[in-house]
Symmetry: C2
Subunit: 220 residues, 2 copies
Amino acid sequence: MKDYNKKKIPRATAKRLPLYLRNLTILDTKGVARIKSKELSDITQVPSATIRRDFSYLGELGRSGYGYDVAFLIEVFSHILDSNEESRIAIVGFGNLGKALANNNFRRNENLIISCVFDTNPEIIGKTIAGFYVYSMADFKQIAQEKNIRIAISTVPSEHAQEAIDIVVNSGITAILNFAPDRVEVPDNISMRYIDLTTELLTLLFFDHNYKKTPLAVTS
Amino acid sequence: MKDYNKKKIPRATAKRLPLYLRNLTILDTKGVARIKSKELSDITQVPSATIRRDFSYLGELGRSGYGYDVAFLIEVFSHILDSNEESRIAIVGFGNLGKALANNNFRRNENLIISCVFDTNPEIIGKTIAGFYVYSMADFKQIAQEKNIRIAISTVPSEHAQEAIDIVVNSGITAILNFAPDRVEVPDNISMRYIDLTTELLTLLFFDHNYKKTPLAVTS
């Protein structure tokens, strides 16, 4: 496969690739073989002109009026997103949310694997809970390196999030998903993504009040 | 307070209001009284020209070079987002994720209140778990109406999500946050928002690989 130069994809386009990939995978599961930009627009809520422009950065993916081959798009986007590469995940904080994530374990993508879980609670450290051995945060760096962890997901509440994420950063991990919405300080080379459910709910309510006729985007 | 005509705010601007509000609230908590668009840009990762344009739709919020009054912005944005109005929430599906949400209970916003929880598992229906009485989904419509529920958060896995959300829609609730990423069919008047953690992780990994120097936006 042609080696797409990722650096040349505009950032705004790059942000939409996982959304396209996710929806194309659903379409593929449902047996849809070809799709037009207008149809993909209806599903993703991305304007069809934007979709065509995004796809144009990725080479010859389809022909005007004929639509795009779904399986081929999935192959190209998977290649670009590297989602064919296995990524091991550590869960930091093994309360209800940590357990929910471990239990779900990103089943939809066989390359995202929760490999180990950590906590600071002496009552659960060293025990096997919901199928996972609970490691101490004191051993994070050693275990994360041994297990070749690529991503940390922190479910630690805001008041202790900085402390937990400092330990993660110190281990060499650069990709962190944080469920505590307060900003934490991290070096420039760290990619941090926040899941802020309060903001999600306020956005939902706002659109429900004011934009009834236009459905919300699938995800952003 | 001036009655801002919500219908006239562009949809793209509207989507950013909860993000601005969330970060302004953090700044206010930290004692920051005034902020320039450039500084808010550094925090939110929204370009400062976009911030100034967004704010221009909302009237005279600040003066060039002098910055914006944080408390006043919070007042205006809260008014626009109606987040001073109490919104009662029902949790549909009371497993680990449901419990994590109920336990967190959106403490950051006193107007978002989880009022009741539902499940279909006969082993937990009728019991009080983590402080919540677990209602049967069979009683959803009646309880939701009695308790004046405004939003449903579904933690039901994809294979049963359509069934659960049909019951929610039938109760008259129009705002739904869905943690199962597969599309469900809903009428046009329903505002549905999906939280898709697999896509969040793929996006994080992709940006971590390819865009090291530019930190990700706080939320979208």
